[in-house]
Amino acid sequence: MSERDRQADVIVVGGGVIGCAVAYELARQSISVLLLDKSLPGRATSASAGGLWPIGEAVGLGCGVIYYQANRTDTGGTVETEQGPEPLPPVFRDFLAASNAQFPCLASELRDASGIDIECDEGVGLLFVMFNEQECAFAQRLAANVPRDLGMQVLSAQEALRIEPLLSPEVFGGVLLPGEHQVNPMLLAEAFKRAALAKGARFRSDCCVEKLCIEGRRVVGVQLDNERLHCKTVVNAAGAWAGELAATAGIKLPISPVRGQIVLSEALPRTLRACLSTSGCYLAQKRHGEVLIGSTTERAGFDVSVTIEAIQSLSRAAIRVVPMLQNVRVKRVWAGLRPGTPDELPILGKVADLDGYVNATGGFRTGIVAAPLTGRVVSQVVAGKEPEFPIDAFNQSRFSSE
């Protein structure tokens, strides 16, 4: 390998959807970029559902309800208090919405640049399904706080059944978010990567980054197991492993893996019109017909085992909301590790007292929908430009003041 191969202006550590998006945006600006990846079990991009639910997740109607449930004592699988999960700050909702808005354009851009169809599928939206009055009250309260122009609709049981005829007759009502769709997350990452390569980025798989190399107050490269790579800036897009990487430069990054287990059905004819979410699981039928049932939210370190309890609880929750699924065969069960942060917001941008280092991590359960805009703003920060969406609220410094 020549000396030239060992250096780049920017090294992106992590070949998940965020790292690939950042590499793509950098390559588009003709910045020399080297993307490093390592095949680890539990990578969130390969494990994720691929839901694009910016408002749903921001207000807590997607995975967030299940998370909220998981953090409470067992209440029998329903949201019982009037409170429900806390919505995340409006700035994050706006960030996700802006990122989500890029998908239609991005899909055709990536198809041209990479030849890959990211399977951006528009159904009728994300439908949160309620099973009792408490859940209804909670959803109504949420809807009241969401700006009208986001189009959130509170539905009666009949209205919900009209939209999704295979719902259980036991449903109490629903909340529809019409702009919320889905993609194939692995194809999205792969398309970003291929498009980046086509625009001059370089890629190395199976790269074990042992530490960040520092000179004075600057990161100047990364140390692999048997060689050193040089650069002007390192982007930490190492997902659930980002905290470990940052620690090698003395950076305290509050990222911890949050396990999500998923059950995937065999391929079915078109069965679901919407993405569904409930307090026990969410469901999304993918392009090729498989119904994806997600997802647990557990702190189990880097353990990517699936557990029988989780499989059982997801299966039950899925049958509860769409009873006809009971005879469907399960094809796969797996687990992934979300890069979790204490406040559920991403960690983006530079850090104090250390140059040549930029965070692009903490995507938690919104990494896929956030990827397009994250790629853009991070690449802008790296290039010394003003980011097109202000990311001060997502800077790591928010943790140091506490």
Binding site: S46, L187, V263, S265, D303, A318, R329, V333
Partner: protein, 452 residues
Amino acid sequence: MSAAIAAAEAGVPTTIIDDNPFPGGQIYRQPPLQLRSDENPSTTSVRGQQLLRRFAALKGRIELLQNATVWGLFPQRALAISSNGGWTMIDAERLVLATGAYEYVPPFPGWTLPGVMTPGGAQIMAKTMHVLPGKRVLLAGTGPFLLVVALSLARAGVEVVGIIEAGGALEYLRAMPALLAEPGQFLEGMRYLLQLKRRGIPVYRRHVVVEARGDAELREVVIARCDHNWQPDASKQRTIEVDTLCVGYGFIPRIELALMAGCEMRFAPELGGWIPVVDDEFRTTVSEVWVAGDGGGVAGAIVAEVEGELAGLSVAESCGALSRAELSRRRRPLLRRLSSLRRFRSGLDRLSAPRPGLTRLARADTIVCRCEELTRDEVELGIEAGGTDMRTLKVMTRLGMGACQGRMCWPSVARLIAHRTGKDIAQVGPISVRPPIVPISLSELAAEQVVP
């Protein structure tokens, strides 16, 4: 059975989880009770009868879970088992994987036609269900199993038109010294050949099947002479009219549970592909997990029996049911037997290990991944676009997304990737598996556990 017998005889409480209705596995498979009679004696071999008798004598000391399929292996050796429409978990303190092997069929034009099956499939039909797979049958592929199946089909009344063996006569001669390490087995093979000759069943050596033809079902098979790489010569083709073709190029170890257990694997082409790394007591790299038989490397039933016994003894010793001294005393004759058997096997392996020509049998429009109906062309496009490992190729093409998880196609596709990229096939890697390894319905998973 052999591992369970060794462990149970030493006093270790032992359970066998078997997805068959009767003990015996693939080789010593027993027909259903209503099909056993004096007129219809079991064709199971003498060795098998002995093993089954020893097993039966331990009734009460070995718990046998029949029709029970392990669909998942969770941390700490927790086995998820589906049986009788329900599922249950069993925590094993020690686990011996004896998962066996399945037949290797490289894709070739027409291989998805009804009437094309594996020799093992035909054998099960004829031996245990007493259903004839067809009227005129051709067997093709490689290895002694073809001879066994040909004879049992012929005895069952099927017209066996011939056996197409990719290996050549010259290699037989070269392998002779190794084969003579086991004169008994060598003679058994010779007896098979003699009986085939007596029945007038020809063996075409150095030939491969290049195409199966027919509209709704198989009508004829095209065979061609091949070179030492099993590359067919298009100018030396002939067509044979048959209604059934049994194709199998040896066996591939069933490694799903070993992979799920997290065992370190190695690629051993002479033993059928990826196998778990084991020590001389057949322990894997995962604590308290052993592997024995074809699932740890294809070597046939006799080797499997010896390995099973060695694993069972090692298990017994690890539980304290057998002293270290007793273990090594009992191991000695078994290891001697194993080394002689292995010499014989190495001779067979030299004859029968799949060669590169097989990779090129599929045409551009031949289905390679049956679950997702992907053609060779589509797979090659995926490889060219960067899908040179299973994960990426799966993302790009959906190869291996089906119920078989790539079990059927990956051995062929890995060879294709190695061929196209110049990588060593060991670098391409094994399949990646996820539970459930057999389909299970959502309602089964949602239900409470049942008592086994």
